[in-house]
Point group: C3
Chain length 216, copies 3
């Protein structure tokens, strides 16, 4: 970014930040809901919520050997997670669970877009091949949910819900690669790809798109 | 430590080392017991026992990008784990399992204290913010058990046993931070905090303290 | 290797490479079969297949702090995994599953040999103690399967199938250490040990060797 950004850049910068906050909260809440369903205690809640929120990005950074992690650099998020758990302990009731989960798929779409796009871009900057960068872009939004489900003894939903989610991250990652190849710059490559993935994901939810099933 | 330590320092140094040995053995035995319950073979026993003993510290070191790991630097522990497994194969019977598990909670308290305190101190030295250091101090004694349970397909006990265990590590971590802020030096910060956590944990066991339950 | 290798060296080099390809394919197919059994979708198939193929080596490299990973350096393997999944989606039927699994144990033996031997050698070169190098040699071929089973909510087969598999990797690892001590050079240490392990594993399958059971 230049030191004197245009209004468009300013808007998109804050748009990206808003996506990040909304997406992280949606990921965290998916962990909280899972913890409530499994009747975990305060400790289990905090760990599963944190895994859902930060697990994907942390795994990507371990694979790319990048430090510090998002949650280490933005330690305020630890307090946000702990506050969410405390609030849930007081206010969350069974009847909220299904409702919360259903409404979470919308903000979750923003998390998918921004984390897949920025994950791919981060990996490209780290100097890996395009296909590896795209895989890192898939891992970022997907593996938080995978870890969340594995630790509470469920087959990850991402593995068998036939939702176009990781597939959108995969396609969107190639868009990031393409826009980088066109020399659009990291900022616009991420922003445009993130928006495209959010749009695709919302279309997938609204129109009920499904992955092909096999006939085993 | 000075090159001419006082008797107090000498005692505390060996006290810390004793805590470490007793704690690691207790963690290892919790893995062995879990393996016996699940009727794992020699390979499963060794892996689950090693995960329970070293998993938490190893995860902390991966997150902090520290090497070498405890078990790489002290490779004799690998032989201890293998010897424990061989002994268990010959001597352990069903009727020992519950008894061993019940008696293990006492030495386990020493593991909690020393690994939470030293985990927090190690993270502080690595230069992270206090809240992150405290989280690393919680991960060190807690995640061995989490990994032990996850690999044998159980929801981690730490997530739903309502025991004040991770919570004591969290509180004790802040004591480490405070004592560092008071310039007591790493040695005394760790030793005093470890002792305080052991005392708290034993009080929690004796007095039957429980975490609050939610009403989902 | 010298710049003017003998025919023997040339043969062994390509033998090692062939072992690696055959072994990786066998590991990948074990993931694919598991995904089919659990009726995972395309995303779950790809992730479980990739974990089975690369999980062990990746975990070893994270523990040794080595980069780049095998699949990052040889990114063509990502395409192979994706192609396998697409083919399975079209051609794999229930009646193929048991047959494929049974026939996979032969190529899998080559994977065991080459990955245990090269994993031990890589760790020795990284400068760790022999026992640690041997453990890394066990992790390399074993933990792909462990991760494959853990993410789909099964107790890892390696933990309770009483097969001499990890145990062969352990013994073969010590052979690598011995041949290094005899100054045979990494190339021959790996090649001879890999071959010995393949032979042992095939003997174990043919002769039906089993690990001792305990009497819990």
């Amino acid at each position: 970014m230049t030191s004197n950004p245009s209004i468009a850049e300013w808007l998109v910068t804050y748009g990206n930040l808003a996506f990040e906050i909304v997406g992280t909260l949606a990921f965290a809440l998916s962990g909280l809901i899972e913890a409530a369903r499994k009747k975990l205690d305060l400790v289990g809640m905090a760990i599963v919520t944190a895994l859902a929120a930060f697990g994907g990005g942390t795994l990507r950074d371990i694979l790319l050997d990048r430090r510090p992690f998002f949650w280490v650099e933005n330690a305020v998020w630890i307090w946000v997670i702990l506050a969410l758990c405390a609030l849930a302990l007081v206010f969350l009731r069974s009847r909220h669970i299904e409702l919360t989960e259903k409404s979470m798929q919308w903000p979750d779409a923003f998390g998918l877009g921004i984390f897949a796009a920025s994950g791919t871009q981060i990996a490209l900057i780290a100097g890996v091949e395009p296909i590896i960068a795209v895989i890192m872009g898939v891992i970022t939004p997907v593996f938080g949910g995978v870890l969340r489900d594995v630790v509470v003894n469920e087959i990850p939903r991402a593995f068998n819900d036939h939702q176009p989610y990781a597939v959108i991250a995969f396609a969107g990652g190639w868009l990031v690669v393409l826009l980088n190849a066109l020399n659009l710059g990291a900022f616009w490559a991420v922003s445009i790809s993130a928006l495209a993935m959010v749009a695709l994901r919302i279309a997938a939810i609204v129109l009920g798109w499904r992955l092909p099933t096999w006939r085993v």
